[in-house]
């Protein structure tokens, strides 16, 4: 049997302990350093080898040529499983994992993200 005296100790301890739960979304917990969140793309580094496209398990990336040696990346955030295989596959370090994880949106169209669109405009000009 566990003696009641022991339980009183536990109860009193719990009274002064910090709660195990946190007040999300008001208080956000820090993501670990190796966290794999939303991927960002650095268009200036990309050479268009498409290794990332080939290795992505969920067909979430497409790399489009938008000008001479200029590429844009289109991510489908809904398809992406945040495995960061594309980051590992890219020899030029043009892709990077961030700690951003709150990616839910009400508008489905916002799940398609295009990086490097500004370059496209440059080309048009």
């Amino acid at each position: 049997m566990i003696r009641p005296g022991k339980m009183v100790k536990q109860v009193l301890e719990s009274l002064f302990k910090k709660p195990a739960t946190s007040q999300y979304p008001f208080k956000k917990s820090a993501m670990p350093d190796r966290y794999r969140g939303k991927i960002i793309f650095h268009p200036e580094l990309c050479i268009g080898c498409k290794m990332c496209v080939r290795d992505c398990p969920s067909n979430a990336i497409t790399i489009n040529k938008v000008g001479d040696k200029k590429f844009e990346a289109e991510f489908n955030l809904a398809k992406c499983i945040y495995c960061a295989q594309c980051v590992d596959s890219c020899m030029k370090k043009a892709l990077e994992s961030t700690k951003e994880f709150e990616l839910a949106v009400l508008d489905k169209k916002k799940l398609k993200v295009i990086f490097g669109a500004d370059i496209k405009e440059d080309v048009k000009k």
Binding site: M1, I2, A84
Partner: protein, 410 residues
């Protein structure tokens, strides 16, 4: 007394996964029990054939959210064997460490679920809070709480730093102290002992003949553990005890899992002490030479088995997975013989089932025809449309619209 057959599932408020049980009752007594799998078949094995080995690791990892490292390692081991790759020793140690951390997380989770099933929700709150310690460690090492993405063919992706080792050791101390407390609760709390003792009896002979695996077998005094019987990763170099128990009931299964927690803490400490230096992965070819391999892994729930056949391309020709629950599910009918209906939840929970991992492809037989024949997919679809139409719902217009849209998409 008149017998009543009650169906539980596939949709039921008490079930977290779609699974169908049919229980024959005489009063409150269970006369017969049968489980029907196949409601959650995801076709992962087939999907593996259409993807490269590299992509398959991520797919295989998602067979189970709790045993994700289990499946990925098991698959990687098979492919490494076919390709004749020599995985670096440091990688093997890291795989073992993550594997044991995963076991701790799975067993603590189970303990909470078991507490919940017998109405001891305080235990659920306590163990799940303590489980956060190991979840945080896993997130720190791998970047994620589940689906760690740690394995690659030929090694692991991320290394352990001295700070990580320090954090793991600290977490082990906290968890060891908590587990000692739970062991004390399990050994001294009379209500818990009486609720679990004698429930879900499975004799040693039955466990052997039904092919039980993992803690379910070990609680029936069958010392069966893949880590020792067919050592993989770094287990051959690590010293550990196989925890067995002879209670043969749910209480025994609880004690086995708690004993295994203590062993895992010890294992992780020794592994961290002996971890060799060196590379964590070797480069693997994209194309794997033709061959086949069979790989075994002791998951927290029991033995997990993967079969991989390669044909010389970058995609496997066949992948076959047998998750531990499939080996254990047969024992449940035996355990429930002549028991009370109230014991059903805890007896099922005691094998720590994971039905989504277990689900196999099924064929539907039309038993109304004199000679049963296998119903084809198209036939089944037409049958469904007909059935709905006879009940006043006509899908034909909608179907046409979908078909046109599907054409436009491609």
């Amino acid at each position: 007394m008149r017998k009543v057959v009650i169906p539980i599932g596939p949709q039921h408020p008490a079930l977290k996964e779609p699974e169908s049980f049919s229980v024959t009752l005489a009063g409150e007594r269970i006369m017969a029990f049968s489980a029907r799998l196949g409601y959650n078949h995801r076709g992962i094995e087939k999907a593996c054939e259409a993807r490269t080995y590299l992509q398959d690791i991520y797919l295989i990892e998602r067979i189970c959210g709790i045993c994700s490292h289990t499946h990925a390692t098991c698959f990687a081991q098979a492919v490494e064997e076919i390709a004749g790759l020599e995985t670096p020793r440091r990688a093997l140690y890291i795989r073992s460490i993550i594997g044991e951390l995963e076991r701790i997380h799975s067993h603590l989770l189970w303990l909470g679920v078991a507490g919940h099933e017998v109405g001891f929700d305080t235990l659920l709150m306590y163990t799940w809070r303590d489980r956060e310690v190991v979840m945080d460690i896993l997130a720190e090492l791998t970047g994620n709480r589940v689906n760690y993405g740690m394995n690659v063919i030929g090694g692991v992706k991320r290394d352990l730093s001295p700070e990580h080792i320090e954090h793991i050791l600290k977490a082990m101390d906290i968890l060891e102290e908590r587990t000692k407390y739970y062991i004390q609760v399990a050994k001294e709390e009379t209500t818990l002992i009486q609720r679990l003792s004698g429930v879900g009896m499975l004799s040693r002979e039955d466990a052997l003949s039904l092919g039980a695996v993992g803690p379910t077998a070990r609680a029936s005094n069958v010392a069966r553990d893949t880590r020792r019987d067919d050592p993989y990763a770094a287990y051959a170099e690590l010293d550990f005890k196989i925890v067995t128990d002879d209670h043969n009931d749910v209480y025994g299964r609880t004690l086995v899992r708690m004993g295994e927690l203590m062993e895992s803490y010890r294992l992780i400490r020794t592994a961290l002490k002996n971890i060799p230096d060196g590379p964590i992965a070797i480069k693997s070819p994209r194309k794997i030479p033709a061959g086949e391999a069979f790989s075994r892994y002791e998951a927290p729930r029991g033995e997990d088995v993967h079969y991989v056949k390669a044909n010389g391309t970058d995609k496997p020709e066949r992948v076959k997975v047998r998750a531990p629950t499939l080996a254990n599910i047969q024992t449940v009918a035996k355990m429930l013989e002549d028991r009370q209906l109230a014991d059903l939840p805890i007896v099922i929970a005691a094998i720590d089932p994971c039905f989504s991992c277990t689900d196999r492809l099924i064929t539907v037989k039309d038993l109304n025809k004199r000679s049963p024949h296998i119903v084809k997919w198209e036939e089944l679809r037409l049958h469904g449309i007909e059935w709905h139409r006879s009940n006043g719902i006509d899908f034909s217009k909608l179907n046409k619209k979908f078909a046109q849209e599907a054409i436009r998409c491609y």
